[in-house]
């Protein structure tokens, strides 16, 4: 009886899971990620390299508004480095005592400053297309980091039977295959990695996907650590309670 119970529960779970596992027409291939699995944690070096790719390439068009500069201390930058990085951006603040708005350098507590003041400006600079905010891109796409990696490596020459619309590029992973984003990672060595890692296109794509996974889910490390403890506790509790149940019920049979 207990067995069939768990089979039924498992069947329901599988059904519920499979209900989600469709949609994208070309499934991006699965890559190895440091943050997968029970003991998965973000690879700090990859996060910093990925941040460098975001800063030097992606941030020209894509905002990251749910992150604050101070969050960068979590991926291993010192407070001074973060302060210095934030200060490169100007934000508008105010009103001051005279009732005037003013510009000041960004502080670590400010959210990331996007490339465009508003969506209309972003569209007008990008042939009408709106580059999405990347704060949650890994959670907001079927396939997560594999999708981001797949898109960045998925630019191909369009097959003969496909007629591309003006200002569109062919991408085998993107739904519908016509994407308004020009290939962002085009040549090896495009980013000069501070840690000396060879910046091939797949390497840069992998690093920036890792960085964006962290941006989507910055608490993953803490979650995995706590989960391990909770599950260990529950396994012990299950054992103790099962023994208690056997003991209490033993005088009935």
């Amino acid at each position: 009886m207990a067995k069939s119970l768990w089979i039924a529960a498992a069947a329901l779970l599988v059904l519920a899971g499979s209900a989600r596992a469709q949609e994208a027409d070309v499934k991006p291939a699965h890559q190895q990620w440091s943050f997968e699995g029970v003991f998965g944690t973000y690879d700090r070096a990859a996060l910093q390299r990925g941040f460098q790719v975001y800063k030097e390439v992606c941030s020209a068009c894509h905002p990251l508004k749910h992150l604050a500069f101070r969050d960068l201390t979590e991926i291993g930058y010192s407070e001074d480095q973060v302060k210095g990085f934030a200060a490169q951006y100007q934000v508008s603040d105010g009103p001051n005592d005279q009732g005037q708005m003013f510009e000041r350098p960004a502080r670590p507590s400010d959210p990331f400053v996007g490339p465009f003041p508003n969506d209309e400006a972003a569209r007008s600079a990008n042939n009408g297309a709106l580059p999405p905010d990347l704060s949650m891109i890994v959670k907001a796409r079927e396939g997560g980091p594999d999708y981001v990696y797949g898109i960045l490596n998925g630019f191909k020459d369009a097959p003969k039977d496909v007629k591309l619309n003006p200002n569109m590029y062919y991408n085998e992973i993107f739904p519908g295959h016509q994407i308004a984003m020009p290939p962002p990672l085009t040549a090896d060595g495009q980013v000069n990695y501070a840690d000396g890692t060879k910046s091939t296109v797949p390497q840069m794509a992998h690093d920036v996907a890792t960085f964006l996974a962290w941006a989507s889910e910055p608490n993953l490390d803490a979650r995995h650590r706590m989960g391990f403890k909770v599950i260990l506790f529950l396994i012990v509790a299950i054992g103790v309670l099962y023994a208690a149940k056997r003991k209490v019920w033993s005088n009935l049979h």
Binding site: A9, A16, M136, K139, I231, L234, A244, H253
Partner: protein, 412 residues
């Protein structure tokens, strides 16, 4: 354990209170002395699990509401703020979000258990009806809760589901306007859904109270489906079922923890991490998994009005199940034909769930129609007919006799 001290049942303080408010006496009666059939299987764990899940949902929900902003311009960002900046906010939200899924899984198993063992039959008809009321309230609560993060699926799910009421003749469009608080899903919709999402769980608590009163009036049904006949048939709830329920709870919490800590977004839709955009329809509008069977029934007929009617009837028909089933025997253990058609019903609901997740085209339409047909055929035709035609197997003399072999002597 210790029989002395201020909290013991016979201490002066407890006696002073009990004389004025017999709370301890009542708890003593309902937990300790409450006679429970000795043969309840693990399928009977799901009632108490559902109760505990309700408490977890209310506690996590109340704390989430302290940080959430029910405004269409700020809701999405406020949820992200909870996930990123509130201490353990990610834990609270993932507990609440996955808790909703598991709550439905528990309740569905609980309902199918009731169907299998005939727990809705005399004298437990009102107990069953109150359960269906709880299910309806849960569905409303879950639907409105899903709207609150104000992602793409929140917005478009709300649009599709509220529009269904527009199919009702004459008053339909009035009802839709009332639900929306305007002429489209927008800020007033979000505000009223938040208010109701906070209110309904407490109404559920009240109905659960009635459900428990009805339960304790005639006691639990049991896998044999026969009544208590003597002291050998029952055991006190405490410690026997408190310890059995605790063990079941720990196993359940393990599954819950695995979901929350290692696959928190497995059951969710990635689209809901994109902020609501009224100008852009997502490629596929799919409800959460626990609504998929009903969604499939809705889409199994080409007419909107008929689909809506069928969808609501699929739940409303549960109210009259106690009278549709004509068999005097409760448990499917002794009903050879009913046992078979019960599993057909389970399969039809699973097929409906599968179909509901896919676009209504090709083979899915046919599968969905067959499964939807069987669901209603089962409820409206097979239940009354099988009860009349089937020859049940002989029932055991008593629970005690069946559990302990031939001798029906009390075990204590």
């Amino acid at each position: 354990m210790a029989a002395t001290g201020p909290g013991a049942p016979n201490s002066r303080i407890v006696r002073w209170i009990d004389y004025r408010l017999p709370f301890v006496k009542m708890m003593q009666h309902e937990l300790h002395e409450y006679p429970t059939p000795r043969n309840l299987s693990y399928w009977w764990n799901f009632g108490s699990l559902a109760g505990i899940m309700l408490v977890i949902m209310i506690v996590s929900g109340v704390v989430l509401a302290m940080h959430y902003t029910p405004n269409s311009d700020m809701a999405f960002d406020s949820v992200e703020r909870i996930m990123r900046d509130v201490n353990y906010g990610w834990l609270l939200r993932y507990l609440h979000m996955n808790g909703a899924s598991l709550f439905f899984m528990i309740v569905y198993i609980h309902i199918f258990r009731g169907l299998y063992y005939g727990s809705y039959k005399y004298p437990r008809e009102l107990l069953w009806i109150l359960g269906v009321v709880i299910l309806l309230l849960m569905m409303a609560t879950a639907f409105m809760g899903y709207v609150l993060p104000w992602g793409q699926m929140s917005y478009w799910g709300a649009t599709v589901i509220t529009n269904l009421f527009g199919a009702i003749p004459v008053v339909g469009s009035k009802i839709v306007t009332l639900l929306w608080g305007g002429y489209t899903v927008g800020n007033p919709t979000l505000n009223r859904f938040f208010s109701l999402h906070y209110l309904l769980p407490f109404i559920i608590v009240a109905v659960v109270g009635l459900h428990l009163i009805a339960l304790h009036t005639h006691g639990s049904n049991n896998p044999l489906g026969i009544d208590h006949k003597g002291p050998g048939d029952s055991i006190p709830f405490h410690p026997y079922y408190t310890v059995k329920d605790s063990f079941g709870l720990a196993v359940f919490l393990l599954i819950y923890a695995i979901l929350v800590f290692y696959a928190p977004n497995l059951l969710g839709d990635p689209q809901n991490y994109i902020p609501a955009n009224p100008l852009q329809t997502p490629p596929d509008i799919v409800p959460e998994w626990y609504f998929l069977p009903f969604y499939a029934i809705l889409r199994s007929v080409p007419s909107k009005l008929l689909g809506v009617l069928l969808m609501f009837s699929s739940i409303l028909v549960l109210f009259i199940v106690p009278w549709l089933d004509t068999s005097p025997v409760r448990s499917a253990k002794f009903r050879p034909i009913y046992k078979k058609i019960f599993w057909l019903l389970v399969i039809s609901v699973l097929v409906l769930g599968y179909v509901g997740a896919h676009p209504p085209e090709g083979v899915y339409v046919i599968e969905g129609r067959i499964a939807a047909f069987y669901y209603f055929f089962h409820m409206l035709v097979l239940l009354p007919l099988v009860g009349k035609l089937e020859r049940p197997r002989p029932l055991p003399l008593s629970i005690g006799a069946a559990v302990l072999g031939r001798s029906a002597t009390p075990a204590e």
